[in-house]
């Protein structure tokens, strides 16, 4: 800004000049680093799309709706419907399980917990987010899956499938325990801290005056939260849920361990199926470079990127007011 200022002395402008060269270089470095981030996103989309082209050319729109996935050479046939549906269903299922618990934790941390308890409990929940995905996978495979198998499928399977109207959802066709239910349960635990932390942060931003006014009118804590806090923060709450959904869609290792990895449409919550991320993790390292299978996997990756980009962008848009504050 002050570059063009002229000074009577001969020495000063030269020193300014040296400084401004440094300024130009530094600003240029920062700006190009920013440009690199944009380039990165563009490059990811373009690279995945180019890799996916052979599969899109071969199968066209049928790729989205076909359930056939046959990598055997000579009769290769690839359709992503099972993986796409598995991804969406497991993520939505996980959200349904995670949101009430996350809300409970956020409510507890902002309104109910005594101040000395808030930090340790909040930190413990946040640490849950730091545990690597593969650990959730192992824990899921060796703890959650046997639990579902023994204590739910074998113990209650018949009773559950006898429930009128919705009984078919609990039909057990395999008793391995690896199922979309196990996947959704593990994913829901993984996204829990993200949703809970966002909700807690936005609940904390409600002006104290609003809450005090409601309490002053004789409202109970639940009435304050349901009639003052949630209406005030609902957009950010939805943003937090979308953030969790975005993470759930792309969850890879944990899901690979527990979902069963079968290219079968799900009919019940105990069915094994697959997701885009887990089919990529399972098959890509072993597929032949440049094969149609690899292209089909890249096509699935491209679709996953588009879906999660839309979800994460929506989340970011809904949370923007919180980010500004």
């Amino acid at each position: 800004m002050s570059d063009s200022t002229t000074t009577p002395s001969g020495r000063l402008p030269r020193r300014r000049g040296a400084g401004s060269t440094g300024d130009i270089i530094f600003e240029w470095m920062c700006r190009s680093a920013g440009f690199l981030v944009l380039l990165l996103l563009g490059a990811i989309i373009v690279t995945l799309f180019i890799g996916a082209l052979p599969a899109f050319r071969e199968f066209g729109f049928d790729f989205l709706f076909s359930t056939k996935w046959d990598p055997v050479e000579g009769r290769e046939r690839f359709g992503g419907a099972v993986a796409i549906l598995g991804t969406l269903l497991s993520a939505i299922f996980a959200i349904i399980l995670a949101v009430p618990i996350a809300f409970g934790i956020a409510f507890f941390l902002t309104e109910l917990a005594p101040p000395w308890l808030r930090r340790p409990v909040g930190t413990a929940i946040e640490l849950l987010a730091a545990v690597p995905s593969i650990i959730f996978g192992m824990w899921g495979l060796f703890i959650v899956v046997p639990f579902i198998q023994r204590n739910i499928q074998l113990a209650w399977g018949e009773e559950l499938s006898a429930i009128p109207l919705i009984g078919f959802l609990f039909q057990s066709s395999n008793f391995a325990g690896t199922s979309i239910f196990a996947a959704a349960l593990v994913i829901s635990i993984m996204i829990l801290p993200f949703i809970a932390a966002t909700m807690r942060d936005v609940f904390d931003q409600v002006p104290a005056v609003y809450k005090e006014s409601a309490y002053g009118l004789g409202a109970t804590r639940w009435e304050v939260v349901s009639k003052v806090v949630i209406p005030y923060t609902r957009i950010s709450v939805v943003g937090g849920i979308m953030l969790g959904l975005g993470r759930a869609l792309g969850e890879t290792m944990a899901v690979t361990f527990v979902i069963g990895n079968a290219n079968r449409m799900v009919g019940s919550v105990f069915d094994a199926t697959t997701t885009i991320a887990s089919v990529i993790a399972m098959e890509f390292p072993e597929s032949l470079s440049g094969s149609l299978q690899q292209s089909a996997l890249l096509a699935l990756g491209f679709i996953l990127f588009i879906i999660s980009f839309i979800v994460l962008a929506t989340s970011r848009y809904l949370l923007r007011s919180r980010l500004k504050a």
Partner: protein, 301 residues
């Protein structure tokens, strides 16, 4: 209006009704309160279940043998066969994550600096911030696919360097977020004081702002390291894994998460045992780094 409510409130029938209403309101409040406490206990239960499982199953082989040996095939049915270790995986993780940090951190700091010091309110800055935030939560397996397409496929083989590049892409958004946040906490008066002394802007940023925000920025780098040390999916597609110690960055390289993944799925009890120890190691490491980062931030406040 107040007159009607007052007169109504004094009718005995309404007293009973409002008592019932009061009871219901209190009951609902109590139920919700109990539900929230249960929800919190469930959240804490899962964390402790994971930790207890890891310690319970992993501690048995957490010894010098595991830390000093490379992978050995299963000793199943052969009690004299040597037990395998995780040294190759630990070294591979340190090398690849270290390189990922070395590549990603400078870029992340520059982007964060740009967003905080140069791009306030600009369209381009908003776009960069938006994209960085999306990349922060984008599926890491897709980053692996991307790096496979640009660094593995053209070269014709998996490589440690490809793994490091994939991890560095995951580092950038974490560092961008913390750098920008920390720089924004610095009061403008400090910046004005530096500029008023005649220092150029780049000196103001590098010598004063960075120093003031140092602990926060270090926290960001620590958190980024903790995140990539446990990443599996991107490495599966880029450095693939290796069962022996390898210092060759242009060949396949082992890493702790991949060793865990392969040995946990092997079906052999002794290999699964080693996987549990690996899982315990990585979780303790990651949580220790996270707690250290938190302490660093807390001390600053």
């Amino acid at each position: 209006m107040s007159a009607t409510t007052a007169s109504r409130a004094f009718q005995p029938k309404d007293v009973a009704a409002s008592r019932a209403l009061g009871r219901r309101r209190r009951l609902v409040d109590q139920l919700v309160r109990v539900f929230c406490i249960i929800a919190t206990i469930i959240g804490l239960f899962f964390l402790s279940s994971i930790m207890v499982t890891l310690v319970w199953r992993g501690i048995a082989t957490l010894d010098w043998v595991t830390l000093s040996r490379e992978f050995q095939p299963t000793a199943y049915g052969d009690p004299d066969a040597p037990r395998g270790g995780l040294l190759h995986a630990i070294l591979g993780t340190l090398v690849q994550s270290g390189m990922g940090i070395v590549i990603g951190t400078p870029i992340g700091i520059l982007v964060g600096t740009y967003l905080s010091e140069y791009a306030r309110g600009s369209r381009f800055g908003d776009a960069v911030r938006f994209v960085s935030d999306v990349l922060l939560s984008a599926p890491s397996v897709l980053v692996g696919l991307f790096v496979y397409q640009i660094l593995v496929q053209p070269v014709g083989g998996f490589s440690g360097i490809a793994g490091a590049v994939a991890l560095s892409i995951l580092v950038i958004p974490v560092v961008v977020r913390t750098t920008e946040d920390m720089l924004q906490l610095i009061p403008n008066t400090l910046r004005e004081a530096v500029v008023a002394l005649g220092a150029p802007k780049w000196k103001m940023v590098t010598l004063v702002c960075y120093r003031a925000a140092l602990s926060g920025m270090v926290t960001g780098v620590l958190l980024a390291f903790a995140r990539i040390a446990g990443e599996t999916a991107p490495l599966l597609l880029t450095s693939f894994g290796n069962n022996v110690i390898s210092w060759n960055l242009f060949g396949a390289m082992g890493s702790l998460p991949i060793s865990i993944y392969q040995q946990a799925n092997s079906g052999f009890p002794d290999l699964i045992q080693v996987a549990w120890t690996g899982a315990l190691l990585i979780t303790l490491g990651v949580l220790a780094i996270n707690i250290a980062a938190r302490i660093l931030v807390a001390r600053r406040k």
